[in-house]
Symmetry: C2
Subunit: 575 residues, 2 copies
C-alpha cells in the first residue's frame, strides 16, 4: 500500500493494529460523546436559527466523512458555537430567519465551505492558518462567546430580541426586558444554575460519595441531558405550551434524506465571502484542537489533510440536510478524555445520533428552548477568556492592540468584520513594527572581535568609520526607513567620515525594493565621498546579490566579518 494512499485515507493506518481493547475504549467514548452531543446539536441548530433536527443531521454523516479522511484520531466534528453564529450572521443576510430559503442557504453554505476547504487542501494552503495570530483567534473567540451568550438571553427571558452586535443585542434586550415570560425565565434560570453547578460542583460531590475522579468527570458530562429530561418532563406535566413557553416543537422523525443541494450560483456568490471566513475560522479552530490532542499522544496532524477532511465533512453535512460543521473543542476533549483511540469512536457516535433521530424526536416537541439556550450559555462561557488581554498588555503593545481591535470590532461590527479587522490589524501591526527596525551604531569591544551598541557599551570607534547594525531583514516596508536612517547618521557626522559599514548579521533577506534603496544610498554617499561597505552578509543574501550588478556599483567592499572590515578600513595613524 503506498504511502500516498495511507496519507489520504488515515483509517488504512489505524485499522491495521485495531483490537478488542481499542474497540472497548472507542465504544465507551462514543456513548459519552453521544450523550453530550444530542443537546449540543439541538442547541447549535437553534443558535444558527435553524430547525432543531438540522443539528442532529449535521452530527451524523459529517462524523463518518471525517473518520475516513481526518488525520486526527480523536477530533470530533459537528456543529460548534462560533461557526453556528457565523452561519446565522451570513445566512441572515440573504434570507429571513425561519423561512425555507434560510435553511437551504445554510445547506448551501455547508456545501460551499466544504468545496472551499477541499480546494484549499488540494492546493496545500494549510499554512494560511498561520495568518491568524494567537491574539486574533483568542480575541475573536472571546468576543463571539459574549455575543452568543447575550443572544441566548432572549430564550431564557422568553422574549423576541435580535441582533448580532453588542449594541443591537443590548438595546433590543433592554427594550423588551419587561415582556419576559415568567415560566420561561424560571425554567431557564434553573437550568442555567444547575448546569453551572454541574460544571464546578458535581464532579467533586460524586468523588466524595465514592466515584473515581474520571468516572465522576464522565458522569458530570451527562448534566445537560439530565436538564433536558427534567425540563421536558416539567413542560409536559405543567403544560408549558399553554403558558406561552417557547418549545422546540415538531421535529421530523427519522434519518435525513440525501439530496444534492440546488445549484444556485447567484446565492453562492452572495455567500462566498462568508463561506471563506467560516472555512478559515472553522479550520483554525479545528486544527488547533487537533494538534493539541495529537501532541499529547505524540501523534501528528497534517494541516492539508485536515482541510480535505473538514471539507468532506461539510459536503457530507450539506448532502444530508445539515449546516456548516468543524472540529469542536469541548466535544473533542471529552472524546479524548473518555479514552477514544481512533475515529471508530466517531463512527459509533454517528450511529448513536442516528438512533436519537429515529427514536427521540417525538419527545423533543416539549423541550423548552430556554433549556437549550442555557446549555449554550454554559458552554460558551468557557470560551470567554480575558486573561490574554492582560498578558498582551504586559508583553507587547502590538499584540495588545491586535487583541483589542479583534474583540472590539467583533463586538461592535459583528463576527465577519471582526475577524477581518483582526487579521488586517495583526498583519498591519507586524508590517509597521518591521518597517521601523532597530538600527544600532556599533563599535568594537576592546580586546575582542565583538561589536556592540555604542550607547550601551564602551567601545572603540573612529571618526572616519560608522558601523551600523540593522536588526531586521530589509524589505519594501523598511527600505525607505533604512535609507533615511543612514542619511540621518551622516548628517550628524563631519567631513572626516569616509566609510559606512552595514553589519548584516540580522539581515535574513534583502528584497528588490531594499536593493534599490541600497543602490540609491551607495550613489548618494559616493557623491559625498563616502564609501558603503557590507559585512557578515549571510550566504543566501550574498547569492542573490551576486545575481545582480549591485556589487559592481557598490563603492566599498563586502567583508566576512565586522572586525575584518574595521581592521581594513581604520586609519593607519589611529591604529
Amino acid at each position: 500500500m503506498s504511502q500516498w494512499l495511507r496519507g489520504l485515507l488515515p483509517p488504512l493506518e489505524w485499522l491495521r493494529g485495531y483490537n478488542r481493547n481499542a474497540l472497548a475504549s472507542d465504544t465507551l467514548a462514543a456513548v459519552i460523546v453521544t450523550i453530550m452531543l444530542i443537546p449540543q446539536s439541538l442547541a447549535y441548530a437553534l443558535l444558527a436559527g435553524l430547525p432543531a433536527e438540522m443539528g442532529l443531521y449535521a452530527s451524523i454523516l459529517p462524523l463518518l466523512a471525517y473518520a475516513i479522511f481526518g488525520s486526527s484520531r480523536t477530533l470530533s466534528v459537528g456543529p460548534v458555537a462560533v461557526v453556528s453564529l457565523m452561519t446565522a450572521t451570513a445566512v441572515g443576510k440573504v434570507a429571513a430567519t425561519g423561512s425555507l430559503g434560510y435553511a437551504s442557504a445554510a445547506i448551501a453554505m455547508a456545501l460551499l465551505s466544504g468545496a472551499m476547504l477541499i480546494g484549499m487542501g488540494l492546493l496545500r494552503f494549510g499554512y494560511l492558518a498561520n495568518l491568524l495570530s494567537h491574539p486574533v483567534v483568542s480575541g475573536f473567540i472571546t468576543a463571539s462567546g459574549i455575543i452568543i451568550a447575550l443572544s441566548q438571553l432572549r430564550h431564557i427571558l422568553g422574549i423576541q430580541a435580535h441582533g448580532e452586535t453588542l449594541p443591537t443585542l443590548i438595546s433590543t434586550l433592554w427594550m423588551q426586558l419587561w415582556a419576559f415570560n415568567g415560566v420561561t425565565l424560571i425554567t431557564g434560570t434553573a437550568a442555567l444554575i444547575f448546569l453551572f453547578w454541574v460544571r464546578s460542583g458535581l464532579a467533586p460531590l460524586l468523588c466524595r460519595v465514592g466515584f473515581s475522579a474520571s468516572a465522576a468527570g464522565m458522569l458530570a458530562k451527562a448534566g445537560p441531558v439530565l436538564v433536558i429530561i427534567v425540563t421536558t418532563l416539567a413542560s409536559i406535566a405543567l403544560d408549558y405550551q399553554t403558558l406561552g413557553v417557547a418549545l422546540v416543537g415538531t421535529v421530523p422523525r427519522g434519518l435525513p434524506a440525501f439530496s444534492i443541494p440546488t445549484m444556485d450560483f447567484a446565492l453562492w456568490s452572495e455567500l462566498a465571502v462568508s463561506a471563506l471566513l467560516i472555512s478559515v475560522i472553522g479550520f483554525v479552530e479545528s486544527v488547533s484542537v487537533g494538534k493539541t490532542l495529537a501532541a499529547k499522544r505524540r501523534q501528528r496532524v497534517d494541516a492539508n489533510q485536515e482541510l480535505v477532511a473538514l471539507g468532506a465533512a461539510n459536503v457530507a453535512s450539506a448532502v444530508s440536510g445539515g449546516f456548516p460543521v468543524t472540529g469542536g473543542f469541548s466535544r473533542s476533549v471529552v472524546n479524548f478524555d473518555a479514552g477514544a483511540q481512533t475515529q471508530l469512536a466517531s463512527v459509533l457516535t454517528a450511529g448513536g445520533i442516528a438512533g436519537a433521530a429515529l427514536l427521540l424526536t417525538p419527545v423533543l416537541y416539549f423541550l423548552p428552548k430556554a433549556t437549550l439556550a442555557a446549555t449554550i450559555i454554559v458552554a460558551v462561557t468557557s470560551l470567554i477568556d480575558f486573561s490574554l488581554i492582560k498578558l498582551a498588555w504586559r508583553y507587547s503593545r502590538t499584540d495588545f492592540i491586535a487583541v483589542m481591535v479583534t474583540i472590539l470590532s467583533t463586538l461592535f461590527f459583528g463576527v465577519e468584520l471582526g475577524v477581518l479587522c483582526g487579521i488586517l490589524a495583526s498583519i498591519s501591526l507586524h508590517l509597521h513594527k518591521t518597517s521601523q527596525p532597530h538600527i544600532a551604531i556599533v563599535g568594537e569591544v576592546p580586546g575582542t572581535e565583538h561589536f556592540r551598541n555604542i550607547n550601551r557599551h564602551d567601545v572603540i570607534t573612529y571618526p572616519s568609520i560608522v558601523s551600523l547594525r540593522i536588526d531586521e531583514s530589509l524589505y519594501f516596508a523598511n527600505a525607505g526607513y533604512m535609507e533615511s536612517a543612514i542619511y540621518a547618521v551622516i548628517a550628524e557626522r563631519d567631513e572626516r567620515l569616509k566609510h559606512i559599514i552595514l553589519q548584516c548579521t540580522a539581515v535574513n533577506a534583502i528584497d528588490l525594493s531594499a536593493l534599490e534603496a541600497l543602490e540609491a544610498v551607495t550613489q548618494r554617499l559616493k557623491e559625498q565621498g563616502i564609501m558603503l561597505h557590507l559585512s557578515e552578509v549571510k550566504g543566501p543574501v550574498m547569492d542573490a546579490l551576486e545575481r545582480t550588478d549591485f556589487l559592481e556599483h557598490l563603492s566599498g567592499q563586502v567583508f566576512l566579518s565586522q572586525h575584518q572590515a574595521c581592521e581594513a578600513l581604520k586609519p593607519v595613524t589611529e591604529s
Copy 2:
C-alpha cells in the same frame, strides 16, 4: 518663528534667503514648464474623459496650494497620466462619460481624495506609502502606461472604442479598426512620429547647429507646443471639422469659477474606495519624485507634510472645477532641470496657465484630439519599463511574482484591482517567505567560539545537544513552522538527546503567538525529558520575556552566548 510653523508652511523657510538670482532661475523654469504643461493639461483631461478646460483648471490653484504647503522645492503638481486614468475608471462607474454628472463626480473625487490625504497627513500615516513595494509600483506604472497608450489609439485612428483592460481595449479597437478616419490617422501618426523624433533626435540636432546642450534640451521640450500649433493651423486651413476629424471644440474662456462641490454623501461613499486608491498611488508617485529630486540638492522631503500638501492641492483643484492631481514625474524633472530653486516657479507657472486659460481657449476649438492623444502616447511610453521584470527574475522569485501579479492583474482587471492585487500579493509573499524561516542546526567551529551550519562546516557536536539557529524574528506567521521544525529535529535524534538550545542571534522579536508556541514546545520537550535553552537573546526580546512568566516555565536556561551554553551543557565525559 516656531519650528512647527516653519514645518507646516515651508515658504517661511525658503522665502528668507530669496534673492534676484533665485527669481531669475524660477522665472525661466516657469516659462518652460508652462509651455510643456498646456498641452499636457489638455491631454490628461481628455484621458480622464473630461472637458479640456478642466485640465487647465487643475493646473492653476493646485500649484498655489502645493507651493504653500509642499516640502519639496521643485515638485510640480497637476494632472498626471496614471491618476487621470484611475479617475476615468472610478468616475466611469458612477456616471456616463460626457454627462454633467461625470464632471461633477470627478470634482467630488478630487475633494474626497484631498480630504483623505490631509487626514492621513495629520494622522502621520506617511509611512503607509512603504506598503507599496518597488515591484508593485513599477509594475503598476508599466501596465498603466500600456493601457493608457492603447486607450489613446482610438483618437489616432478616429474611431469610437472603449475599455479599461487589455482584452476589452484590443477587442474594441480590432472590431472598429476599419472605421478609421483617414485625415485623423495621418494627422495623429505624423504628430506621433514628430514627437518621438523630438524626444530622441531634436536635441542632438540643435547641439550640432550651435545650441548648448542645456538650451537644446529646453527647446526640445517645446516640441508638443509646436505640434499643437502646426496641427491647429492645418485643422483651420484644411477645415478638418468637415472632414470628420474629432476636435477639442468649444472651451469656455476665462478663469475657473470658485464653487464648493455639492455635498453628495451617496456619491462620496460610492467613490470612497477609488478615492483612497487614487490618493495612495498619487502620493507614492509624488513622494518618490520629490525624494529623488530633493536628494540631488541635499534637501529633505517630509512624507507627512507631503500628504497635507497634496491634499490641499486636490481640495484646491476641486473648488476650482479641476480633477485629481499629484506631483508628476516628467514635469517635475523639467522644472528641476530648468533650474527652479523654489516653489515660486510653480506660482509663476500657475500664472502662465491662467494666462493661457484667458487668452488661448478660442484657438483650442480647432485642435485635433489626435494631437493630444499623440502627446499622451509619447509621454507614457517613457513609463513602460520591462527591465524590472528581468531584474526581478534573476534576483528573487518573490519579487518576480509580485511584479508579474501587478502587471497582469492591472492589464486584465483594470487599474483599481491591479494595484490592490499587487499590494496583497507583495504582502502575502513577504508573509509567506518569513513564515518558513531558515533554521540551521549549528555546531562549534573547532578552536573558536563561532557556531556554523553543520551541513556547511566541520563542527563539533554532541549527541546530547542540538543547537538550532533560527534566522528570522518569531511571530504568528512562523510560530507553527518553528514548532514543527523543532519536533522534526527531535524525531531524528535518539534518546541521548537532552538539550535543545535556540540561538537567537537573528530573532529581533518574539510576539505573543510565538511565545505561546515556545511554551508549548517547552512543555512537550519536558514530557520527553529534554530541556529547552535560549542563547544570545537580544536585549529588547529579553525585556519582553521578563514581563511574562515564560522564563519561570522554561525548563532550561538563558545563556549569553551559544559558546557558554555548550560549555555548560556538554557532557563531562565527552569534553
